[in-house]
Symmetry: C2
Subunit: 372 residues, 2 copies
């Protein structure tokens, strides 16, 4: 699929490496799984696969007893929309944390579906603080929508702070953990999260195409059971009924479900989700340590283990991203105001400290050649 | 992925064969593609892939000049819902051909989205005729929704007849070709089709996860440009704007898009879509010829090349499907009233006359053992 495998340059052993947030570098085990015939799925064999995936995902999210998983064939945005429309309705007033492109997406979804909402807007370099939240205390909001990690800026929000806020204000808590699941510690039960959104192509490092929504018993009973989905394709009621026997109402991305099971079993066998999160944290710290020797910066707010936003001393981010890609090293550009001075480096997927070292050496050379 | 690869029985060389309608048997070339790292996609390399896919798909559908493709990460039902909501609105009155489960789905989608509709209901063994259509002539319908091949019963509808009906009655024509594209001849231009829906896991024989909607210039100008999508995830306007540069608004199932390009190039290199349709027709006729020697029947209405519904002399369809699966030969059960006496055999995917022969021999043995 990648053209670079024919290269005979210095990176021949590992011709292209994805430091992108999604798709991420897939492991040989996942690739072996992906290369197999997709089997028929309307049978017990596939039901068993789905049910085992659900058990693992709920366990890894520390979901409260009685939680359920909805398995969607959709990008993360599809799952965000499905969650907004099945878990909120016109009687709600949502508070949306808008710290970048993905927060704005939650806001746009509320707008599209007639859900009243206020947006807590952050500057791209501004940390979400108790002081900023205080303005919304006791203001009658019924739900908080947050991207635990705002992937466009790199900020990881303070989950205990948000959880306490929701508890005090009796708000349901909807968390997009698309780029945090398996990278940052998440405890649905302890943090009273009512809906958690996960996608295949981030820290799970699978092919993009499926997303998962985990629902707490409270969310299931008090909201999903009461709210009528405006769409058929994203109707949680239908998924939940079919899901009790490990099936989906419509043909799922069967191949990626098999990749998911293989990955979840491997996380389990390697010591569980805490070990996986620790591995990612170590990799992130390793990278952040290495770039300290270059003339670059990083944001001052808390960062997810999933990625580091690198801030350059000169506006040469576009050239830097392109030059690294020519070396087979793929990083994510930033959009908007961050675009000229920043790019993003992921620490999720099948990466090692050796990959970090290779990237940082290449980055140093590129910056030197650009006079930055 | 399939467990059967460890089997050491008589079918060891090809341990499991999918005669199912989707997923279908994938070719070695597709599997090789599927087993490769999913690359980063927000760049020109991926844009070029998407644009080449669009050119091929429009060509293979004989789409009129100026048609466009929308690339969705969703099952076929997602694409059906996206089409209904972006191409119809409350000012419409649709006529839905309901000849089985998939026709009922179009009807349910109209219902969910407040689109007035009348259903032309067929019995499971009833052919759609000019006489049945006549009752709806000049009745003020604005759109016809039809599954070209009603996959739950096996019926292929008469496209020229439906097209003439739409032309006479000035109706827009929406065709679900999910199980017909690349299996039955389709000419969007000649049949004045305004929207054509395709999915990855049928005759294209790719992993399930992406669906395509092809839109005629008339549909684009007169409807899509005017109608506001109720959802963000399925908002065609957004896909069409991004699609001009070969991108999608949200992360697509990148891996399957690469499978798609490889498959489209292979169809092109093998003589084009007409050759592929002819190959499937030959395979279907071969199968239908072979079962003529068994004590089974087939429907009397026109059938798609994509599958044959086999009608058994006794109500042993469930046992038959299970016994064949034990041999590694997977066929589709039928739902509802057809369930006890019928099952379905697909002729799409990487199948050969040798596979047909193996299946028919096994079927003969199973029926004999069941006394049917």
């Amino acid at each position: 699929m990648t053209q670079g495998t024919d290269k005979t340059d210095k990176t021949a052993l590992r011709p292209e490496v994805l430091f992108t947030v999604g798709p991420t570098q897939m492991s040989p085990q996942t690739l072996a799984c992906a290369g197999r015939q997709v089997p028929y799925f309307r049978n017990q064999a596939f039901s068993d696969v789905v049910l085992e995936c659900e058990r693992f995902v709920l366990e890894f999210a520390h979901a409260p007893q009685g939680s359920r998983m909805v398995l969607l064939t959709a990008s993360g945005t599809g799952a965000m929309e499905a969650t907004v429309t099945n878990c909120l309705d016109a009687s709600d007033r949502a508070l949306v944390i808008v710290g970048g492109g993905f927060g704005r997406r939650f806001s746009a979804l509320c707008e599209r579906h007639g859900i009243a909402h206020d947006d807590l807007e952050l500057d791209s370099e501004e940390a979400l603080t108790q002081e900023r939240l205080a303005a919304f205390e006791g203001a009658g909001h019924t739900a908080l929508l947050v991207n635990l990690h705002e992937t466009s800026t790199g900020q990881l929000y303070d989950l205990p702070m948000l959880s306490d806020f929701c508890q005090r204000n009796q708000m349901t808590l909807v968390v997009d953990a698309i780029s945090s699941f398996a990278a940052d510690r998440i405890d649905m039960a302890a943090s009273c999260i009512d809906a958690l959104i996960v996608s295949s192509q981030k820290a799970l490092a699978l092919a993009p195409g499926i997303s998962l929504v985990l629902l707490s018993p409270r969310m299931l009973e008090e909201r999903v059971a009461r709210i009528t989905s405006p769409t058929l394709y994203f109707d949680f009621a239908d998924y939940l009924v079919n899901g009790t026997r490990g099936q989906t109402p419509f043909t799922p991305a069967v191949g990626i479900v098999y990749e998911l099971l293989e990955r979840l079993r491997r996380i389990d066998a390697s010591g569980g989700i805490d070990t996986e999160v620790a591995r990612t944290r170590t990799l992130a710290r390793d990278f952040r340590g290495r770039i300290a020797e270059l003339n670059v910066g990083a944001p001052s707010f808390p960062m997810s283990n999933a990625l580091t936003r690198v801030i350059l001393p000169k506006p040469v981010a576009g050239e830097t991203v392109r030059a690294l890609a020519e070396e087979g090293l793929f990083v994510n550009p930033c959009g908007g105001v961050l675009g000229e001075r920043c790019f993003r480096v992921a620490h999720i997927g099948d990466l090692s400290e050796k990959d970090n070292a290779q990237l940082v050496i290449a980055l140093g050379e590129v910056l030197e050649s650009l006079g930055a």
